[in-house]
């Protein structure tokens, strides 16, 4: 198991899902989404995949887009992965529930242990879950309910699972993330700060926290793609997207910053944590 926090960010593979045309067309509007520039969104997605593969050296698996699933690229909502276990979620939006099927299949093929959420009363969006390396926080947002959080606790029994009420229109991961094994980064909105305070009260572990001007900047991914002892990376929103937060991010030490852009996809509610799923096929190495 290694020292506490060691498990954070270990990954060998990244899973993403292509951007369907339906995301740019009127169909997305049905889901109440603003129109977006499809070509730009696809370009952003392509660059993201490229960085994951080339900059981070990860095995990249890309699921094909499905027109019936406009929000399919946001596959971070469909699974919670820790170690060798993947909990397939039950997204709040009934329209999105079919998204889990492709993801389940891919994760299964990669050899992960699949856990399903049987309970029909439970809802859980994967981006309401923050894993710190030592414990889980589950945001009780408009998408995730208590029962959903409870299933997270049932699935990952080694870890404390605490609930964090999240107010406003964000998922928990839209407000905060991990900047390192012992560092929580959070946006400066009231909702983000409140979530961080709640987490601070609930945890047994010492974390530092770093406040960023933009909430969206806190939706970053701390990744350790290589072998233990290898370099660490922070995949984050770059200066083109969020210029105000760049300076603060420089303060994270021992981590190589890898900026990416997803401002167009953001219009569909995407953040870095929802655009890719990280996993390790050697969870115990």
């Amino acid at each position: 198991m290694g020292p506490p926090g060691e498990g954070l960010g270990r990954c060998s593979h990244a899973l993403i899902r292509g951007v369907p045309e339906s995301l740019g067309s009127g169909e997305a509007a049905v889901a109440g989404l603003p129109a977006l520039d499809l070509a730009k969104a696809q370009r952003e997605h392509g660059v993201l995949g490229g960085k994951l593969r080339q900059r981070l050296g990860l095995q990249l698996l890309e699921l094909p887009p499905e027109e019936s699933l406009p929000l399919g690229p946001l596959l971070g909502d469909t699974a919670v992965i820790q170690g060798d276990t993947a909990l397939i979620t039950r997204p709040w939006s009934p329209a999105r529930r079919p998204e889990v099927d492709g993801v389940r299949k891919a994760l299964q093929d990669l050899g992960l242990r699949i856990v399903e959420m049987g309970d029909q009363s439970a809802t859980l969006d994967g981006t309401d879950v923050l894993f710190t390396g030592r414990e889980f926080f589950v945001g009780l947002s408009k998408w995730t309910n208590h029962r959903g959080a409870e299933i997270v606790a049932d699935t990952f029994r080694d870890f404390a699972v605490s609930t964090v009420p999240v107010s406003g229109p964000s998922h928990l991961r839209g407000l905060c993330g991990m900047g390192g094994p012992r560092t929580v980064v959070a946006g400066s909105s009231e909702a983000a700060q409140k979530a961080v305070r709640t987490m601070a009260a609930l945890t047994d572990h010492p974390y530092a926290s770093l406040t960023l001007p933009d909430d969206a900047a806190a939706d970053c991914l701390f990744l350790r793609p290589g072998l233990p002892g290898g370099p660490s990376f922070l995949l984050h929103r770059g200066g083109g997207d969020l210029p105000n937060s760049q300076e603060a991010l420089q303060k994270l030490s021992d981590v190589t910053l890898v900026p990416v852009s997803c401002s167009e996809l953001e219009k569909a509610g995407a953040g870095l944590s929802s655009l890719c799923l990280m996993l390790s096929t050697r969870p115990h190495s």
Partner: protein
């Protein structure tokens, strides 16, 4: 222990036998001499007894009446408490009772205890039987008439606690050490492992498949030793229990892992086991069923760091000890008074509804005990004086800080013991259904029925109501009832300055006291955790508007940490906000303190492969006196750190150790050896200061330095010898050193060589010399 033949004869009938346990009897009549055996800790335990025990009866009278007005009290008071009183006075210590104690391996131990003996007498007997010295982490439980598990209070008569129940007890872990590696003896860890294995099997300590497999594999290695292809055939682990629902897949995984542990000793396997088990989120959490103010079922978990609130399996709130000002109970309600958060002016009190009065009291006591054990340096004396309302119960045993100090002085060769438990364990466990043994556990788990609560304590609630219906304990610091209006930023600082002076003084006094006790040269300012500094130094974002602000819920320690950091990095601005810090006592981080230590560590490493050195790491709690200490507010803040000074060796071992040490220095001409002895026994300050050359090719001179210190009941004599061995190049320094150590050993046969530091003074440059001991 001798056991009497007629097992049934003892409890009710007055036996007029001569005491079989004179010691035990003595312990009862004169509490200052505990259970014989002269364990110093027993002494310290007993010290608190007189106040506590001399007058409980009359003082509690008015409380009793109060009790009667309440429903719970009514049902309980009809117990024979009063009736017993008079016989007790006349009762002779000549009567004895047979106690049956279920041990952690599920075997049963029978012993005889004077009928009016205190819990301590029995506990000491059991620990002696188990050959256990670090016993403060453990306790005895019994089941009351409602089959609730109660802790046997060592300071009270057994008979009064168990009342009409049978004299059956279970030996269990009471305080789960947050860092088991800091336990001194393997045997202590062994018992802790047994407890945890039971916790896992019963589901009290939930874990994932992967962890079940990992822990199971270490358990197998500890119990069966190395994998042996001839001996271990088929599914050789299937008869052992590892998980509540054990599958073939799990067993296979365990066997796979077991094969990879060749050469791992049982002791090492247990350390690995514990290092992994301690990270589990429910490790050492004592759960109690309750309802919140809205009537929702929750669980209250008491642990080393504070109080955790669970709903289903989810943690929904947490109150670290520093955040709690007062703990109290009244009837079936349990209350905690919370320190105000940043934006709050007032303290708040949170109430929980327990199933009944007794469960509220049990929870209250467990809180008091955990708080004292893990958070305080020494137990608080029970309240005195006429103003005392409520229970006078206080934890009177040693605190973790004290037990660590004491166990650092344990001076015996590692005791031999057999590890083979789980089969027996499982058998009897599954048969007799855990009713009484160990954790009333399963039921303690999240999904258990609402009526099973937990560790209860002495059942005097009914038997003899010496305690009040309500209990409350204030954590030692007074905090102002009303916080002045303050604005965001300077808050932390101010809060610190706001501290009433007497608190600070008191705090400083206890720091000084601890320092004196420790008398450690390096006990001054060891910053507990370097990583912290690193992490915490993250500068802040200039753009964040309300940086530090707020934490309504931020725990006390968070503020402490903020301030701590201010001290470290003056001028660190906003933005970086420290998140919360594990309560210090519970998150010990080893800190190496001096080069001396480092070099002896190096030696030890060197030697271990030879497997002859019996090494020991002593724990010393260093006091932190810099800015953060007073901010620790209510309690002494200690920073446990490991020093490796007490590497103790036995005679033959020291020879080898000498070798190992010398081996690090290839080809020296002169070897200077420093031997330091540490012994818990005094009176050894007569020393010869020189001794003759032991070989023709060398000349040896010895300088001796003796220090005597007194530490909490122990007197410790340290002898430092500087032995200069001079010789020419072909001197076998290994041998020379070995001889020198042997000689020293012969001169002080009752002492231990704890450290041998070898310096070579030859041609090589000084840097090289300095480096060498460390790098190997």
């Amino acid at each position: 222990m001798t056991t009497e033949t007629g097992p049934d004869s003892e409890v009710k009938k007055a036996q007029e036998e001569a005491p079989q346990q004179p010691e035990a009897a003595a312990a009862v009549t004169t509490p200052v001499i505990p259970a014989g055996h002269g364990h110093p800790e027993a002494n310290s335990n007993e010290k608190h007894l007189p106040q506590q025990d001399t007058r409980p009866a009359e003082q509690s009278l008015d409380m009793e009446e109060k009790d009667y007005s309440e429903a719970d009290g009514l049902s309980e008071r009809t117990t024979p408490s009063k009736a017993q009183k008079s016989p007790q006075k006349i009762a002779k210590k000549y009567k004895s009772a047979i106690c049956r104690v279920t041990l952690l391996d599920a075997s049963e131990y029978e012993c005889e205890v004077e009928k009016h003996g205190r819990g301590q007498v029995l506990f000491d007997l059991v620990c002696e039987h188990l050959n256990l010295l670090e016993k403060d982490y453990f306790g005895l439980t019994f089941c009351d008439a409602d089959s609730q598990k109660n802790w046997l209070d060592p300071s009270k008569e057994i008979k009064k606690q168990i009342r009409s129940s049978s004299w059956n007890f279970a030996f269990t872990v009471k305080f789960y050490p947050p860092d088991p590696a800091q336990l001194t003896e393997d045997i202590t860890r062994y018992y802790l492992c047994l407890q945890l294995r039971a916790d896992i099997i019963t589901g009290r300590l939930p874990c994932s498949f992967v962890t079940h497999a990992l822990l199971g594999s270490y358990a197998v290695q500890a119990e069966l030793g190395d994998y042996d292809a001839e001996e271990h055939v088929g599914n050789y682990v299937s008869e052992l229990r590892f998980a509540p629902n054990q599958t073939r897949e799990l067993e296979e995984r365990i066997m796979e892992l077991h094969k990879t542990y060749r050469g791992m000793t049982p002791g090492e396997a247990e350390i690995h086991f514990l290092e992994n088990a301690k990270k589990l989120s429910m490790y050492g959490v004592d759960l109690h069923h309750a309802k919140d103010s809205e009537g929702i079922d929750i669980m209250l978990g008491v642990c080393a760091n504070g109080l955790l609130i669970y709903r289903d399996r989810l943690r929904i709130n947490r109150f670290a000890w520093p955040k709690i000002l007062k703990i109290s109970y009244k009837r079936s309600n349990f209350y905690i008074k919370i320190r105000p958060g940043e934006y709050e002016q007032f303290e708040s009190t949170i109430g929980f509804k327990l199933p009944n009065h007794r469960s509220a009291k049990r929870l209250w006591k467990v809180c008091i005990e955990h708080h004292t054990f893990f958070r305080l340096v020494s137990p608080e004396p029970p309240p005195k004086g006429f103003l005392v309302m409520g229970s006078k119960f206080r934890y009177s045993g040693r605190t973790q800080a004290q037990t660590r100090q004491a166990s650092a002085l344990i001076d015996r060769p590692a005791p031999f013991f057999e590890r083979s438990s789980s089969k027996r364990y499982t058998m009897s466990r599954s048969l007799d259904g855990a009713e009484f043994s160990r954790p009333a556990s399963v039921s303690e788990n999240h999904d258990a029925g609402p009526d099973s609560d937990k560790p209860e304590e002495d059942a005097e609630s009914g038997g003899r109501r010496s305690e009040a219906e309500e209990g409350e304990v204030r954590t030692p610091t007074k905090i102002k009832e009303l916080k002045p209006e303050q604005e965001t930023t300077p808050r932390h600082k101010q809060e610190f300055l706001d501290k009433p002076e007497d608190v600070l003084l008191k705090h400083q006094a206890s720091i000084n006291e601890l320092k004196r006790t420790l008398k450690e040269p390096n006990s001054k300012l060891i910053h507990r955790d370097r990583d912290w500094e690193r992490d915490r130094r993250l500068p802040s974002s200039p753009a964040s508007p309300s940086p530090k602000g707020t934490p309504e819920k931020a725990s006390e320690s968070q503020r402490t940490q903020d301030a701590f950091q201010q001290d470290l990095v003056p001028g660190t601005a906003a933005g970086l906000e420290v998140f919360t810090q594990k309560s210090l006592a519970a998150s010990p981080e080893p800190v190496k303190t001096e080069t001396m230590t480092v070099s002896s560590l190096a030696i030890r490493k060197k030697i271990e492969p030879e497997a002859v050195l019996q090494s020991r790491v002593s724990t010393v709690d260093h006091t932190q006196v810099d800015g953060s200490a007073p901010l620790g507010k209510e309690f002494m803040t200690t920073t446990p750190s490991i020093t490796t000074e007490t590497i103790s060796t036995t005679m033959e071992n020291s020879l080898k150790s000498g070798k190992g040490a010398a081996a690090m220095i290839p080809g020296p001409q002169t070897v200077a050896t420093e031997i330091r002895s540490l012994s818990p026994i005094i009176g050894k300050d007569v020393l010869t200061s020189t001794y003759g050359a032991t070989a023709e090719t060398l000349s040896t001179s010895t300088t001796t330095h003796v220090t005597k210190t007194v530490k909490g009941g122990f007197s410790e004599t340290r002898i430092e010898k500087r032995i200069i061995i001079t010789g020419d190049e072909d001197v076998d320094q290994d041998q020379a050193l070995a001889l020198a150590i042997k000689e020293a050993k012969l001169q002080h046969p009752d002492m231990l060589v704890t450290k041998a530091v070898v310096y070579r003074e030859t041609d090589p440059s000084p840097e090289e010399r300095d480096k060498k001991p460390q790098e190997s």
